[in-house]
């Protein structure tokens, strides 16, 4: 990031991106449909289940596969817990950006570790889960899933309340974040913001509600919105989203049926009929989309990813110019970018 400053005031901001480009859009075009899932883990490495969910749903939509009920519930539970983990990571990193010597980091990471351990028990991996499959999930949950999930939720709920107490009523956080880098609803839409960034401006737009994918239409949850689109509202929205995710997981856990976890009659090599589709999900950072074009072979012909971080980052210059140097850091922090998703 190249910063032009006049004393302590920022004159110009130029985010230099591209250093994390690994061809995550081109490489999958040479891979089997099931091999691509791993690349989505690595696109947004903090919201792996959400990105996997998006890709898997896209393939299912294109191939006309219907995943069984139980698999859908598993996906929703894991994706929502992943959203909590990602937002916890945000609060940890944001505390460090604003100068809170690691306290929020430790608080947030304690609970993120709990969730990661939980994911490891299910998928065998801590970060790159590679668990969802077109047509279901890779294998069934462990026997003690229900009990463990309740445990983790209880710990996370406590952790969210503690973070709330540490950050949200903190005088310095209030003084620093309120009114900083305000974005109006109109500007937010024009810049292509999505996720908590957009909801902080007061717009009630959540893809889980706007165009319910998977089984999100069955759950009861609120869409938290901010009032003036500043950094503080982004914090509030993210904190409240964690609470709503807990609600969704609790409901899904109640209703989760027994049954198969994989659709019937899938071949070893998945050949998808020719066609194209665009699937988008609400990832913790915003709208994560996958555009797939198939020509009937076992590999996607075109595979394009829309990263929420990239669009959100594009507003950085407009939000930062005229502010103080130290504010640019927390504005950048409040966007919650994942550079892998920016560059792909």
């Amino acid at each position: 990031m190249i910063l032009t400053i006049d004393g302590e005031l920022v004159v110009d901001v130029d985010p230099v991106i591209g250093y994390m480009h690994r061809g995550n859009e081109k490489l999958p075009e040479n891979c089997d449909y099931r091999q691509v899932i791993g690349y989505h883990d690595r696109t947004d490495y903090l919201a792996q289940f959400n990105t996997e969910h998006c890709y898997v749903e896209a393939v299912e939509r294109l191939a006309g596969i219907k995943a069984p009920e139980r698999a859908e519930y598993i996906r929703v539970i894991l994706a929502e817990m992943n959203r909590i983990a990602s937002h916890l990571m945000f609060f940890g990193a944001f505390g460090t950006d604003i100068g809170l010597f690691g306290t929020s980091f430790m608080y947030a990471f304690r609970d993120r570790e709990t969730i990661q351990d939980f994911f490891e028990e299910i998928t065998g991996e801590r970060m790159m889960y590679n668990y969802f499959r077109p047509g279901g999930v890779a294998w069934d949950l462990p026997d003690n899933f229900h009990e463990r999930c309740t445990q983790v939720l209880a710990a996370v709920k406590l952790g969210i309340d503690q973070l709330d107490g540490l950050m949200m009523e903190n005088e310095v956080v209030l003084a620093r974040c309120r009114g900083l880098s305000q974005v109006t609803q109109e500007d937010g839409i024009n810049w292509g913001l999505s996720g908590p960034m957009l909801r902080a401006t007061g717009l009630k737009h959540d893809l889980r509600r706007a165009e319910p994918y998977s089984i999100y239409d069955r759950f009861e949850f609120d869409i938290p919105t901010g009032r003036q689109g500043d950094v503080y509202d982004r914090l509030v929205v993210r904190l409240e989203e964690m609470r709503q995710s807990v609600r969704i997981v609790e409901q899904a856990l109640e209703e989760m049926p027994e049954g198969p976890i994989m659709a019937e009659g899938l071949k070893r090599v998945l050949r998808v009929p020719a066609g194209e589709t665009y699937m988008r999900v609400e990832s913790p950072r915003g709208e994560y989309g996958v555009y797939l074009v198939s020509q009937g072979s076992d590999k996607p012909w075109r595979h394009k990813v829309r990263g929420a971080s990239f669009s959100n980052l594009s507003a950085l210059r407009a939000m930062s110019v005229g502010n103080y140097v130290s504010d640019v850091i927390i504005i950048l922090g409040s966007i919650d970018i994942v550079l892998c998703e920016v560059d792909r």
Partner: protein
């Protein structure tokens, strides 16, 4: 008393007292780094250092050895003399201030008549070192940090001095031992709660500790003036920082908490030396713990908020405390008035801060960024 064996020769005695300081300072600082890491660790649900020695007690010594054996790097483009002298300019005034600071009734190097004045004057010098380091490093982060440091230190020096001055009005002396003797009944914190508040806040700012670590902000100017330093020179900055913290803590316990005396004359005047040391250590530790506690619970202020907080809130209230003291002294009102007036003013200052933090940024016009929006 405890130095009876050398006390017949004033030169020998002075050397012995200086020697004790020179020995205590590095060891004390090394242990203080361990204490700080341990306290912060516990406050953040970690263990802190645990590997070197029992409970990581020797961690500080291991770090010192590492720092001493590290290569002393100087950037090619750095201004040689400015760069290399800067750490000394920081450490020397700090040690000089320590010389005039009585720890107990007998444990001091020199009891100056103008002790308070001397300490405040000398500890203000270290800003020169920071500016030298920032300028000499030929590094934009260092320079930005140095400019911030200069602005901050000069600003917060004023409320700090005013708060200290208000306290000195009561015993009408600048001699630290006399100020302590004046508190044999009730510590000054009861009469001067406003001055205490201002002292604690501007003391934190003088030490560049959070929430006032703007000049050395890790996420903004990557360490500020110290960014180009390594090894022994960098550890001298650390030494200066920690000794300053001890000085502010000792000064605070002397002038506000009654120094080595037990509160409310519980043990009248005959407190033994060991008791004095323990009392003083406890009171100093309270201050040090306060600084560490604040460090883990408050994020960093913005530079304009830091400045407006000083000039708009701390400074007027510091003058208010002096006016209150003046009125009470001139009209000979009872001391209880002082408790009431100062307490009310302190509550007012706290309320203003509380309100300012919650009001900031709410009255905002789109397209225009408010500057100096703390109050």
């Amino acid at each position: 008393m405890f130095l009876a064996f050398v006390s017949d020769n004033p030169w020998l005695e002075a050397m012995a007292r200086l020697g004790i300081i020179a020995l205590l300072v590095p060891v004390g600082v090394i242990m203080l780094t361990w204490v700080e890491r341990k306290v912060i660790g516990r406050l953040q649900m970690r263990l802190g250092p645990m590997r070197v020695g029992p409970y990581g007690l020797l961690q500080g010594f291991a770090d010192t050895i590492k720092l001493l054996t590290k290569e002393d790097v100087r950037p090619d483009t750095a201004d040689r003399w400015t760069f290399e002298l800067a750490p000394f300019v920081i450490v020397v005034p700090v040690i000089m201030a320590l010389v005039a600071l009585p720890f107990t009734a007998d444990l001091f190097v020199s009891n100056l008549t103008l002790g308070l004045f001397y300490i405040v004057a000398v500890s203000g010098l270290s800003i020169v070192g920071f500016v030298m380091a920032g300028w000499g490093s030929d590094n934009k982060y260092a320079l930005l940090g140095a400019v911030r440091a200069a602005a901050q230190l000069i600003s917060y020096e004023i409320p700090l001095v005013m708060a200290v001055l208000a306290v000195a009005m009561l015993p009408q002396s600048l001699n630290l031992a006399e100020i302590v003797t004046g508190q044999e009944d009730t510590p000054n914190i009861a009469y001067q709660s406003l001055a205490f508040l201002i002292f604690a806040i501007s003391g934190t700012a003088e030490l560049y500790r959070p929430p006032f670590d703007i000049p050395v902000a890790e996420s903004e100017v990557v360490g500020g003036p110290t960014v180009e330093y390594s090894g022994i020179r960098w550890s001298m900055f650390q030494l200066g920082e920690f000794v300053s913290m001890v000085i502010i803590s000792i000064l605070g316990s002397l002038i506000f908490l009654g120094g080595w005396q037990w509160p409310w004359s519980m043990f009248d005047q005959s407190v033994p030396v060991a008791g004095q040391v323990v009392t003083m250590l406890a009171k100093t530790s309270l201050f040090i713990f306060f600084f560490m506690w604040v460090r883990v619970s408050l994020p960093r202020l913005r530079i304009d908020q830091m400045m407006s907080f000083c000039w708009q809130l701390l400074l007027p209230f510091a003058f208010l405390q002096i006016i209150i003291n003046g009125l009470v002294l001139v009209y000979d009102w009872p001391n209880e008035t002082l408790v009431l007036l100062s307490g009310a003013a302190a509550a007012g200052a706290l309320y203003l801060t509380y309100r300012a933090a919650r009001m900031s940024g709410v009255r905002y016009q789109p397209g225009y960024q408010q500057v100096g929006s703390v109050l």
